[in-house]
């Protein structure tokens, strides 16, 4: 009945992005660079660039995390990132907005997401930067898996703490 099951994860795909006027969103397997994302939103009409860097924590509720891995439904996640960016660009009259998310294994303490927004005045940029992060955490089709000494969990932002345990003998990767 099943014709082409595929058990192994697809190979790393490097970087995929969408660029539109005032908008840059990207998913990448490479380390993130704050300067290059700032350059994506730099504008002579802007009086402020606000940036946010989300970094990977070494514990969850005091329990040591040994590594973190992000996976994604890339085409859908890019579509969602682009839609979030587009609505904030309009809502806050931004000059530019850029969001990049790293995928694959991210070493502890490194950046997993960068957001940069530019606007004529700082208030709009502060607000838009925070909203962009909250929207991403709620909607973007990226999943974080935390590995502990005694197994791994898929984290869920929705409830903040209760991911599903990866069951013994039921590991998909």
């Amino acid at each position: 009945m099943t014709t082409q099951d595929q058990v192994n994860p697809p190979p790393p795909e490097g970087e995929s992005s969408i660029s539109l006027p005032g908008i840059y969103v990207s998913l990448t397997d490479l380390p993130l660079d704050i300067l290059s994302i700032m350059d994506k939103v730099r504008s002579p009409e802007a009086g402020a660039i606000v940036t946010f860097a989300g970094t990977t924590r070494n514990n969850f509720a005091s329990k040591p995390v040994t590594s973190l891995t992000y996976t994604s439904y890339r085409p859908l996640a890019l579509q969602t990132l682009s839609s979030i960016a587009s609505s904030l660009l309009t809502k806050h009259a931004l000059k530019g907005i850029a969001i990049v998310h790293r995928l694959g294994t991210v070493p502890i303490g490194e950046e997993s997401i960068l957001i940069a927004v530019s606007s004529a005045h700082r208030k709009a940029a502060w607000l838009a930067g925070e909203e962009a992060l909250e929207e991403c955490k709620e909607k973007v089709e990226v999943w974080k898996r935390e590995e502990f000494e005694d197994g791994g969990v898929w984290r869920a932002n929705r409830d903040g703490h209760q991911g599903a345990e990866v069951k013994e003998g039921n590991k998909g990767e």
Binding site: T2, D5, V7, P10, Y73, W154, A156, N157
Partner: protein, 96 residues
Amino acid sequence: MSATPKPAAPGNFTILYFATATSFTGKNVESLPAPLSLRKLGDVLEERYKGIREEVLGHSLVTINLAYVDVPEEGEDDVIIQEGDEVAIIPPVSSG
């Protein structure tokens, strides 16, 4: 740029699994026979992966060709998954 695997064989659609759905099925992707009523998708998956309805599907959303769809209740118009469609099971996300 796409994570999309090669198209499903004739008479099939592609279904993608992520996160807890991958862990539960042991797969990232597979092909299932089309056409299939979206309302029956849960039954088909439950038959293949006992317990997936409660453990995974109950907390997940479904997309067809990159668009979210509501799984119809009894009495509502059904959606038919067609040959070549790309369906995905979307568990609660955790970006950032």
